[in-house]
Amino acid sequence: MTLLTTELPKPEPHRAVLLWRRFARNRAALLGLVIFVVVLIMAATAGLIEPTDPLRRAGVPLTKPFVDWATPLGTDQLGRDILASLFYGARISLLVGVLATLLSIGIGVVIGAVSGYFGGWIDDVLMRTTEAFQTIPNFVLLLALVAILGSSIEYITVAIAIVSWTAPARMVRAEFMSLRGREFVDAARNLGVSNTAIIFREILPNALPPIVVYASVIMALSILLESALAFLGLGDPNHASWGNMIGQGRAVLRSDWYCAAIPGTAIILTVLSFSLLGEGLNDALNPRQKK
């Protein structure tokens, strides 16, 4: 029996392996992953399996699903192929979701990090601004932004990001406030590391896990917000987005319910998958000390 402490324990398996193990323990999260992968495949193969322009007239308007194999899921009011739109819609929805999330998290991280790290009047100014943004009902702000910028998909994405950054900013700020007092930050300062490097190289990587988890929430919200805009007729009609499909399918909801129900289900499943993924990521990245 030895008391010497210099011997190293067995090396641990790779971080990714550990993360995967913790993630996979959550069965619901696995389901979320499966749905997510399916959506991903749909987005990636849009145009391969369904080589047509989704906005093109592909058949007799309002063909029911499973009637004509040229348009397996039927057509909408303008004779557009619902299957093709569904695939292209996956691409648009993911694009909106991912870009809006990256953008809002980006803004949130910079503001939250600066605010939380420096504190004082900088924090005051930034947090008052954040509060101002939070006080305006986000959907109303979104409508105003879309009214200003117009309804192109790029602007919708930017607008969604602009109304979504406050929560991550507060979150990052809280993380930074708690992390900036940690000894490893003092250690870095003591080594003469600059503030910028401390913020981005030392603290940020440690503040990321909850943000990554929250990113799934923003992804989900982005898709819901886009669809709500489309519902109010403010979607981008140049692209087949699920929101647009529901927005237009709603007019024929009672007679041709599938026009809205198919993209509706797609949205529900996708948003659900993001939420489930988020829970799984939470388990993987922020393991609770359960014995």
């Binding site: 009011q77 007019a251 007679s255």
Partner: protein
Amino acid sequence: MIQKKVALRASLGSAALCALSVMTTGAASAEDAPKHGGTAIIHMASEQRALNPALRASTGVYNITGKIMEPLIDKSYDGYEPVLATEWSTSDDGKHITVKLREGVKWHDGEPFTCADVSFSAMELWKKLLNYSSTLQQNLDSVDCTDDFTAVFNYSKPMPLSLFVAAMPDLGHPVAKHLYEGTDILKNPYNTAPVGTGPFKFVEYERGQYVMAERNPDYWRGEEFPYLDRIVWRFIRDKSAAAAALESGEVHESGFNGVSMSDIERLSKDERFEVGTMGYENNVAHSTVEFNHRNPIMADLKVRQAMYHGLDIDYAIKTIMRGFAKPGRGPVPSAGGANYTDQVTTYDYDPELAMKMLDEAGYPVKDDGFRFHLRHRPAPWGEYTQLWGEYYAQAMREIGIDVEILTNDAPGFLNGVYRDYDFDTANGWHQFRSDPAVSTMVWLRSGAPAGTPWSNQFGWQSDEMDTMIDEAQAELDPEKRAADYHAIQAKSMDEIPVIFAIEHPFISVTSTKLKNHHNTPRWNSSSWYDLWLDE
């Protein structure tokens, strides 16, 4: 069943000088004796805030205030019908129009209705504040009251009587002088709580919810009228919810395409409802495609013709309007009566021809698969304007023209098209208001102040057209006037400054419990004194 006969029995063009019998047509059969009582609940898709037709000329406003405030003259299927006016005539030079007023009419507050009210309304509201009317009445110098019930309209330039009469149902609502004189007219409280002479008295306006009016016991047509105790206009913005409200019996009528086309089609097969376009003959609109002629490609007539050939109008009518429409034949709709003609150039759907014409015009398909790219602004006027815009884009792509759609809300659209000219093509609608002179010719005539919506802001200018329009407007002889308008129509179909692609009346869904409905060409705007409820 789907498409009810579009009744067009109005004898337009000549002024009816005598009162016509109060005969009604419509769905009610003769043997049903009208019942008194009941509350009719009417769906409104958008909320009307200002309830003064002498301040805001819009069908939405008439829809409610038509029951409370009456115009001097209304329109029936048999022609123009006296309401608050009983007779009208013009001087030989066309500069003085004499209107005899109905005696014994009282405002809802008990004050008598006299010429003073008409004179005040005409000078202070119709001429100064009311949209379209202020242009129409710009040459009105004064209104003289020779006695309490005779008003003489004095114009500095000749005013065709037929134009005057045709405008009156919409632009001829007097307000009570004693309630408006000496006040800030725009902020007068009676603008949202109207006082009129009509069969129903205003009760309350619950903003965001409904407007309610109740029976006027002192109505001038006699104790018999009106039949209903009450009318409520309910604001339901969402079309699906409105359809549900009709089906659950919470609403009796939805007009102006208040429910979606698919629901209209569905409910037309439902025994509980009558669906049709009757009663809108005076409220026809065109779905348009507007070009920005500042773009050299759009300025090329051959391109515009090719694009017209690329539009499958019949398909659009079938899929988007579900058959409740017909192809447009220029700026005047078939509901325009004598002023309408179908002897014009037409452009059949022929994509092959369209592509050939585009090739010839010097726009071959390029490497990216398109001939050229257009930025298109669709008007946000609801379901089928939007679909029409998307169909247009779809159709243009088929003939090799790439169309990028820029969606905006209403102010954004109006600004983008009519003020900033930031568009290549746009689609919206043109509303026909009884006479081409009221709001149609501004689509073709040059010289409208920049930024005026629904006017020629398209950069298209033709001196010949301008002259033709001015002459038609000043022409006093109805027949010559009609011929002038036929010529304008033909020219506009040749040169296509704007495509008046589809003419569609509005469609209403009415519960069979309502009787005597849709019995005038502007029924939703009329007074409903004879409407009754069979419950």
